[in-house]
């Protein structure tokens, strides 16, 4: 098989390169991390971020942006730590209600032609408020079954890697390979044409937002299983991290061009970024700034590797 190392291939491999670029120095500087437990520790919180990233990916597929994913994941964790633990049926109903609400927002965005950034901003206030009502102070407790699922030690390969791979493969098959997923992506790629051929854009968007909500629910529950207690501001950083991960993974804001594998790799890279900086002995002062720098570097590389004659 002959591969040409042209720009397009380089761009597609960029997420993998970034991951290696972050991982290799860690292993080099701290060889102890190159072990089952080491990797497990490094990537401990990868799975929730991966799921949140996939939620954002679904929204970005629809040419929108979701500023409420962080508060939503926090809310799910809070529901899990309170309702789900004490009154499971109410908890399940609450989660289902949230998913339906998300889908309704998606339909509304398309139906009224309103910008998703602002609507999801408002939605983030709502999610946060609900979470604060449930847990005014950090607390609650994860249901036992959840903690044991998340604590399960998988053989040979560290759990986060295994789960991330499984999730990546399943979602890839769903969104990229199945006819259902292809049509959903089409609504983002050429909405006018889809409408002309009789596909309902309102339904498409509602579906994508609903799928995003499902991933958000999974993300919140996984996070709760790992941290065992919840708090209304638990996952606020997930909003911007998920956007960054999708873009790092090769996704574009408009045009419905997304890569599931790339996004998962991007989320993993960002999970590692904090450890990466710590191992490089970067002063804690600069750790926040370096994340910004990493984003900028990767995005610049993408621009450089872009086909000539990109759009303004």
């Amino acid at each position: 098989m002959n591969w040409t190392l042209d720009r397009a291939t380089l761009r597609a491999l960029l997420p993998a390169f970034s991951l290696v670029a972050v991982l290799a120095p860690i292993f080099f500087l701290q060889p102890a991390t190159f072990s089952y437990f080491g990797i497990g520790l490094l990537l401990n919180l990868a799975v929730p971020l991966v799921l949140a990233t996939l939620a954002q990916l679904a929204i970005i597929t629809a040419n929108d942006l979701d500023l409420s994913i962080g508060p939503f994941v926090s809310l799910v964790a809070c529901i899990g730590a309170t309702l789900l633990a004490d009154r499971p049926l109410v908890g399940i109903a609450a989660l289902a209600g949230c998913v339906l609400l998300y889908a309704a927002v998606g339909a509304l965005v398309e139906y009224r032609q309103i910008p998703s950034i602002v609507v999801t901003l408002g939605l983030s206030f709502v999610w946060n408020g609900l979470a604060v009502l449930l847990l005014p102070t950090p607390g609650g407790a994860s249901p036992a079954w959840l903690t044991s699922v998340m604590g399960y030690q998988t053989p040979f390969v560290a759990a986060p890697i295994l789960w991330s791979t499984v999730i990546a493969v399943l979602v890839h098959l769903l969104l990229m390979r199945s006819s259902f997923g292809v049509r959903l992506r089409g609504t983002g790629g050429n909405p006018r044409a889809m409408r002309r051929f009789g596909w309902s854009l309102v339904r498409g968007k509602a579906l994508l937002y609903g799928i995003a909500a499902l991933f958000g629910v999974l993300s919140g529950l996984c996070l709760l299983g790992l941290t065992t207690s919840a708090d209304a501001n638990l996952a606020l950083r997930y909003t911007l991290l998920s956007i960054a991960a999708v873009i790092l993974g090769g996704g574009e804001f408009i045009g419905g061009r997304v890569s599931v594998i790339g996004a998962v790799l991007g989320a993993t890279t960002l999970t590692l970024a904090a450890s990466f900086l710590a191992f490089l002995n970067v002063s804690p002062d600069w750790q926040v700034g370096m994340q910004g720098a990493i984003l900028i570097v990767v995005l610049s590389l993408r621009v450089l590797l872009q086909r000539r004659g990109g759009q303004r």
């Binding site: 009224r112 602002v118 408002g122 946060n128 604060v132 002062d285 994340q291």
Partner: protein
């Protein structure tokens, strides 16, 4: 929206049958003329006044009067960040500035450090704030323009870096100079000095938006960047000025916040991020760009603050307040949208 579909041109039959004097505006009607007045900011003030009356009804006029005064102290900061965000949002769809909290932090920290608590160095402090604003604004613009990063990611990335710089400068901060603190907490005719300052800034900004060529160029850019270019607007120049202005406003806010609180803190600006967008939206600025309203930012800030006060007084917690804010934002945006073309 325009009644023309850009992909279907009008048939030549239209050329001979259309005579321009038909469809005179008298036929447009009163309702349309009212819409043409287009004062969305009125609604936010109406909301504020309504909430104030509810407070007065429930708690009495003296308490209601006090609330207005405290509103003027605290809502002012919402106004300031809202003004900066409004300018950026007016520049067109997709434009947003997420770096305001970090600019607030950096300017506050750096200003306080360099003023060393001395009254004679206050001007240095102001100069530092201006410099921070210019540099952060330019950095945002360059990231967007040169690296072609969407504004939301560009300002996010720069906010991380700016925050780090602020962290490095935040060790051993002195208190702000006395005179500055005094100014920040003083009142003129019963209204806080900073409120007067914000008012002056608002008037200046409103003047720039509505009475200067730059303001028109900005509005043109926000409505249709391509048409603006073809009409002679220097698009890139307007863009960088926009981001620099927003950052300067954020920086000055940081200085004032430090003065009011008696010291700079690294997370001073965090809560203002979402608020800045909320007051812009609720105040009636077009989210798709092209039409900013200064008055709306004031109305929305007062409205949100008074709503907050009312909810507090009624015993509602932070959670309820948050939900109310969210529902308000969504309601305003949904009301201002229009049905999709079927």
């Amino acid at each position: 929206m325009s009644s023309n579909d850009s992909s279907t041109r009008q048939a030549p039959a239209a050329r001979s049958s259309d005579d321009g004097s038909a469809g005179s505006p008298v036929g447009i009607g009163f309702a349309a003329r009212l819409r043409a007045l287009e004062t969305p900011w009125l609604w936010s003030f109406a909301g504020a006044i309504l909430v104030w009356f509810v407070i007065a009804a429930v708690f009495g006029f003296s308490i209601a009067g006090n609330v207005v005064v405290t509103a003027l102290v605290f809502a002012v900061f919402m106004v300031l960040v809202g003004l900066g965000q409004m300018i950026v949002i007016t520049a067109g769809p997709g434009n947003i500035d997420l770096s305001m909290p970090s600019a607030i932090a950096l300017s506050g920290v750096l200003g306080v450090q360099l003023m060393k608590g001395r009254d004679d160095l206050i001007l240095i402090g102001i100069g530092v704030a201006l410099a921070v604003g210019v540099l952060v604004g330019l950095a945002n613009y360059l990231l967007i323009r040169v690296l072609r990063i969407p504004p939301i990611i560009a300002t996010l990335s720069s906010s991380f870096i700016v925050q780090s710089i602020a962290i490095t400068q935040s060790r051993g901060m002195p208190a702000p100079p006395h005179a500055l603190q005094a100014f920040a907490n003083a009142r003129l005719f019963g209204v806080p000095d900073i409120a007067w300052l914000a008012l002056v800034l608002s008037l200046a900004l409103a003047f720039v938006l509505h009475r200067t060529v730059f303001g028109r160029a900005l509005s043109a850019l926000g409505q249709n960047a391509r048409a603006a270019w073809l009409a002679g607007v220097r698009v890139e120049r307007v863009r960088w000025v926009t981001y620099v202005l927003a950052a300067i406003i954020a920086a000055l806010t940081g200085l004032l916040l430090a003065a009011v609180s008696g010291g700079a803190a690294l997370d001073m600006g965090v809560e203002y991020m979402l608020i800045s967008v909320a007051v812009v939206v609720i105040g009636g600025t077009e989210v798709a760009g092209g039409k900013g309203t200064v008055a709306g930012v004031w109305g929305a800030s007062l409205f949100l603050y008074l709503t907050n006060a009312m909810l507090n007084a009624l015993g509602a917690g932070a959670g309820v307040r948050s939900i109310v804010y969210g529902v308000l934002i969504i309601a305003v945006v949904v009301a201002s949208g229009h049905k999709a073309r079927q």
